[in-house]
């Protein structure tokens, strides 16, 4: 069984982002970047399945600018066997990414495609579902537990009401929740070894996918700030304020 894992390079989750003064977007120059956190869970799960002897190959793929290759390199350092980097500049919308991934799936013929449930930059939560729709494959979104059976997966999904368990036949798409597993760190020897693993370079245009955005970002602004609050000195004062000033209890 072969698992394709899609990873995205985003601003590191610990960075407090800044909005550009001209409202054209978010400041990304000299900002720490890293792999989208739930994509790390997707890689970890694929590697664990391989380590359990249930998969033979894990291929990491990313779509993005030159430096996006770093996220593939990181996936290789934690256990992926080889990588694919589809070069594309600027904002690539989830629909275009899923069309690119569809081309990669046609070529690689994986049994499973894993990715994070959502990217923490645009917060779209679309790519996995769109890819699954284009391929007409089953989808298991927001996965917090995966049990690999013969040509089937049993997946526990995080839903608003609690947990849902579904069974999907392979080939299938799974989007991973942060609770799925605890991603490992890359050891130094493995980082060195990963440098020798192959990364295939492709261009989005060579794949015949139109990546021109259909959604125009008119402006980006900071959310309205909350007015500064006050510190109270005692519980009694707090309760009195809630009762008589805020009138919420």
């Amino acid at each position: 069984m072969k698992i394709l894992v899609a990873v995205k390079r985003v601003i590191d989750y610990n960075v407090q982002i800044r909005v550009k003064e001209d409202g054209s977007g978010i400041v990304t120059d000299n900002v720490k970047m890293s792999t989208n956190p739930p994509d790390d869970n997707a890689i970890e799960e694929a590697v664990k399945i391989k380590e359990a002897g249930k998969a033979t190959e894990v291929v990491a793929v990313t779509v993005g600018e030159e430096k996006a290759q770093e996220t593939v390199r990181k996936a290789l350092a934690v256990g992926a066997d080889r990588g694919i980097h589809v070069k594309a500049d600027g904002i690539i919308e989830p629909l275009a990414v899923s069309k690119i991934l569809q081309k990669i799936v046609d070529k690689e013929k994986p049994d499973l495609v894993f990715m994070g449930k959502q990217a923490i930059d645009d917060d779209c939560n679309q790519t996995g579902q769109m890819l699954s729709s284009l391929l007409d494959w089953p989808q298991a979104t927001f996965a917090s537990k995966i049990n690999v059976k013969d040509r089937k997966l049993e997946v526990v999904r995080e839903i608003d009401e609690g947990l849902e368990t579904i069974e999907i036949a392979t080939p299938a798409i799974v989007t991973c929740d942060l609770r799925l597993n605890e991603p490992r760190y890359a050891s130094l020897p493995n980082i060195m070894k990963a440098k020798k693993k192959p990364i295939e370079q492709l261009n989005a245009s060579d794949l015949g996918v139109d990546v021109v955005p259909k959604i125009q970002q008119i402006k980006v602004e900071e959310p309205p700030k909350r007015k500064a609050g006050i510190k109270v000195s005692s519980v009694a004062e707090l309760v009195q304020k809630l009762k008589n000033e805020a009138k919420v209890i």
Binding site: I11, Y13, I17, V19, I26, E93, P94, L95, I120, D123, C124, N125, Q126, Q129, M130, S132, S133, P138, A140, T141, F142, S144, E154, E158, D160, E161, G162, L163, E164, T165, I166, I168, A169, D177, L178, R179, P213, K214, I215, Q216, Q217, I218, K219, V220, E221, E222, P223, R226, G229, K231, V232, S234, V235, A236, L238, V239, K241, L242, V248, I249
Partner: protein, 317 residues
Amino acid sequence: MSVLLIAEHNNKELKAFTLNAVTAASQIDTDVHALVIGNNCADVAKAVSQLPPVKKVISIEAAHYENFIAENFAPVVTKLAQNYSHIVCSANTFGKNLMPRIAAKLDTSQISDIIKVQSPDTFVRPIYAGNAFATVKTSDSKKCVTIRPTSFDPCESSGGSAPIESAEVGEEFVLTKFIKREEIKSDRPELGTARIVVSGGRGMQNGDNFKLITAIADKLNAAIGASRAAVDAGYISNDHQVGQTGKVVVPDLYIAVGISGAIQHLAGMKESKVIVAINKDGEAPIFSVADYGLEADLFEALPQFLEELNKLNTIQK
């Protein structure tokens, strides 16, 4: 131009957030049609027909729609979509799972999780966990939009009398099988819609200490929330999680106890009307969003809080 709203329900009752989604739909265009897909869900179709902004209800019932599998829903919605300019749904796990599947079939770039309708093609949506708001305009002729329900008021639940039509059932997608759903039942108000939420964080130190939170929540008829740190530490189950990866809540009163205020938590609660923070670390970021901050040891403050509440003659429910 008209809007097709996909109703969220459990075959018996309409989910409350559908009312908020209807409001957003009616701001896009006044011609709102609602689609109810399910199994033995006639009561839901009836409830939807009574929502005043809804002009027509389309009902599709079949056994394979019982469990809301997106692979079964997407083809029938895609077929109906030919008659509409917009397909909308609330951005809960139901809509998040379903809508991109429809958008891809329609070759449309979806707009997720909008918090404001500026015009039928221009919307405001949060990005970076709510740390920035983007105004976006789509050039797609058919628009797929999911709605953050807490950003819109619910519509009236009665007074309307839209006709109910049925539409053709689609084929079953046999490669995906529903096994089970474990819903967490509680006598408390639901976290997503409660008027008051009391949340605990890593500062609670263990699951047993959450009884201090429970006692206060009982007194205030509040829902119980938690930070991701508390959930990951195993103090409380993950359906209580508030934040970017949990639930987004907008209660009248949010009380954060022993929560430092990580970006991902703030994204889930900072739109609350009144925020209280109780934390012994005076530098904790949670104080920057709190209307009332109390720098104190929660193990002393929570029992006192309960005592003070007990002294009050009346408490709003």
